[in-house]
């Protein structure tokens, strides 16, 4: 029995080696693995834990969310997150009432500034929560955005 499981193990590992060799598993894609669990979490806290490792956040006045107060079209809501903090490691954007609250997360390089601008979809009126990871701590800011026409579902 032991011999059998040993054989199985070797076959599996050599298969992996072949896959890596064929370029199916490039080192880059392994490093920047898409956090599947975080994008499946149905709650803000769950998403935060999966994406950032913790849901302990400190509210900060040093994070600015630029977004419309009332979004006419929920399918396209332009938002800009900026912070004056130094050493920002990552920024995550959560939309509380979306089916999947985590909208996106960004890993920043050492020379990248705390500034992200993108466009998101919002199902209905909700709080938008920006979480900034800096020096191993999480800081957050909130902004309520009213949506008149939803952007999820059809």
């Amino acid at each position: 029995m032991k011999r059998r499981s040993f054989l199985k193990g070797t076959v599996a590992s050599s298969m992996l080696g072949v896959a890596a060799g064929a370029g199916l598993l490039t080192p880059q894609s392994v490093l920047a693995a898409w956090p599947k669990a975080a994008f499946e979490a149905k709650s803000v806290d769950g998403g935060m834990e999966a994406a950032l490792g913790s849901s302990d956040v400190i509210e900060s006045g040093d994070i600015k969310i630029k977004a419309p107060d009332i979004a006419e079209n929920g399918a396209v809501v332009p938002i800009t997150i900026s912070t004056g903090m130094s050493g920002v490691e990552s920024i995550a954007i959560f939309i509380e009432k979306n089916p999947i609250p985590l909208a996106s997360s960004y890993d920043l390089g050492p020379t990248t500034q705390g500034f992200i601008s993108c466009r998101v979809k919002m199902g209905k009126t909700s709080d938008l929560i920006a979480v900034v990871k800096s020096g191993g701590k999480l800081y957050s800011a909130k902004k309520m955005i009213k949506v008149t026409i939803g952007g999820c579902g059809g």
């Binding site: 880059q28 894609s29 920047a32 898409w34 956090p35 975080a38 994008f39 994406a51 399918a75 396209v76 809501v77 332009p78 800009t80 939309i95 979306n98 089916p99 999947i100 985590l102 909208a103 996106s104 997360s105 960004y106 890993d107 920043l108 390089g109 020379t111 990248t112 500034q113 500034f115 992200i116 601008s117 993108c118 466009r119 998101v120 979809k121 919002m122 952007g151 999820c152 579902g153 059809g154």
Partner: protein, 105 residues
């Protein structure tokens, strides 16, 4: 099949470089239904966007379905000079990918 296109604008102001990128992608959530047949349209969205300057990753974005159709992304970083190349590439949940390069102006 939509055209895989990425439009990049890169500008230096002082020592800060601002990158703006616009990608062509349907960004289907998987929740929408085809109005005629009532069938669900399968999810099709960009998962990872990687922005590189001289081979170093300056930004890695992980996206969910909540990013709008034809996504727009802007960010700033320091340490780049005019004439440097910036590379933006994305990959989606169907294994498709695209990349583009632009010179910083």
């Amino acid at each position: 099949m939509a055209k895989k296109k990425i439009r990049i604008r890169a500008k230096v102001k002082g020592d800060v470089t601002e990158i703006k990128a616009l990608m062509s992608h349907p960004m289907e959530t998987g929740l929408r239904k085809n109005k005629k047949t009532g069938e669900k349209i399968p999810a099709h969205f960009i998962q990872d966007v990687i922005c590189e300057h001289k081979g170093t990753q300056v930004l890695v974005a992980h996206w969910g379905v909540a990013i709008s159709k034809n996504p727009y992304l802007a960010f700033k970083f320091t340490g780049a000079a005019k004439g440097d190349t910036i590379k933006v590439s994305w990959s989606d949940n169907k294994g498709e990918s695209a990349s583009a390069e632009a010179k910083i102006g």
